[in-house]
């Protein structure tokens, strides 16, 4: 492909087409109607492929119990990405102080108190504590779409602070969880290839914080715990992850007391399609007007 891929080029083209709506802060933007239509159709495609699995549907708001974030050791791995919700809990005098400081452009963070909730850092996090106890014989399978927050302001349109993920979560013994992950790795790749996206799968690692994080990332790669399906969106050399597959081993099972029928600690895995990233990959690959996309792609999405 001779097209030059740049971050700014894609951002400007998406804004120009009305697909994303700037709101004045990096990493956050609105979505236009065509963007949302493509996103909905992609989600419906995923639903058609996943239908035979009969997963349990769940819906959660974009915030979770702070204790779940703490127990999951999210801040041990990603202190720089977490979003903790603070709010005002003071009295009238404190309120006047707050108003004054905001009017004067002075710092006011110390007048806020940490609440019991955090922004959800990964769409699957609310699921695990709901399965504390013993799983059914064949484990459990959950299907959800949810918003995730990561504090990583960026000019790159593909690196959002708030984004949606269509996620499936499998809980059970390892001889169920690992083959399920492998099945979806193949399904995910085939699905994206069917949309004319030059997708490929690769071993990946999370952006863990600091020197300790480099060790965690090396461990993750060595054990092949994370795979991503990547597509060139803002760069050919560094393609963008549009689908991510994570095998947690017994991390969530032991943290939240999830057991299999035979009493062992359950293992878990999840996979998530980054919905906005898939849509951007489609716009980047096939152009900003879905009406002009190749017939083969339209037939898959507009069925």
């Amino acid at each position: 492909m001779s097209q030059t891929f740049t971050s700014k080029g894609l951002y400007d083209a998406l804004v120009q087409a009305g697909h994303i709506i700037p709101v004045g802060v990096k990493g956050v933007f609105g979505r236009g109607p065509v963007f949302e239509d493509v996103l909905d159709r992609f989600e419906q495609l995923v639903s058609r492929i996943a239908a035979p699995d009969k997963a349990r549907k769940m819906h959660f708001p974009p915030c979770i119990d702070r204790q779940v974030l703490e127990q999951s050791l999210f801040l041990e791995s990603f202190p720089h990405l977490g979003g903790t919700i603070f709010s005002f809990t003071g009295d009238d005098a404190g309120h006047r102080e707050l108003n004054t400081r905001i009017a004067q452009g002075k710092p006011w963070a110390d007048l806020q108190t940490m609440t019991d909730v955090c922004l959800t850092p990964a769409a699957c996090y609310p699921v695990y504590p709901t399965y504390t106890g013993t799983l059914p014989n064949d484990g459990a399978l959950v299907d959800l779409v949810g918003w995730a927050f990561r504090h990583e302001p960026s000019d790159e349109p593909t690196r959002m602070m708030a984004f949606r993920v269509r996620e499936f979560i499998r809980l059970g013994p390892s001889d169920v969880v690992v083959p399920w992950r492998d099945l979806w790795l193949q399904r995910g790749l085939e699905l994206l290839l069917s949309l004319g996206l030059p997708a490929k799968a690769e071993v990946a690692a999370d952006p863990f914080f600091g020197r300790g994080g480099r060790m965690l990332a090396a461990n993750q790669r060595e054990q092949k715990l994370k795979f991503e399906v990547v597509v060139p969106v803002i760069s050919h050399e560094k393609p963008t992850a549009v689908c991510s597959f994570n095998y947690h081993q017994d991390k969530f099972g032991s943290t939240f007391g999830i057991r299999t029928k035979d009493g062992k600690v359950a293992e878990t895995a999840c996979l998530g399609f980054g919905l906005e990233r898939v849509v951007m990959a489609l716009f980047r690959t096939h152009g900003m007007s879905p009406g002009a996309w190749p017939k083969s792609v339209r037939e898959v999405l507009w069925t």
Binding site: S77, M215, L216, N219
Partner: protein, 78 residues
């Protein structure tokens, strides 16, 4: 050196077994050390022995046993 390593493993390794019962070649991951715990062990070893593990040594095999840790520290000290 091994006594100091055992002490660090006891304090930071989150092991499911008593660090005193480990042999030199016992697999620390099999003994319950998680990836997160191995990071804390690594940082404590750096503090105790005044060394810094280069990126190419920040991997599972270096921290999998008392013997492998001993070997890595000796290599860094020489």
């Amino acid at each position: 050196m091994q006594d100091k390593i055992r002490k660090i493993l006891k304090e930071h390794g989150r092991l499911a077994v008593d660090a005193a019962t480990l042999t030199e070649t016992s697999d620390l991951y099999q003994s319950g050390m998680t990836s997160h715990a191995s990071v804390n062990v690594m940082l404590a070893l750096e503090g105790e022995f005044d060394v810094e593990f280069p990126d190419n040594m920040l991997k599972r095999s270096v921290f999998e046993s008392i013997a492998s840790i001993t070997s890595a520290i000796n290599q860094l000290k020489n």
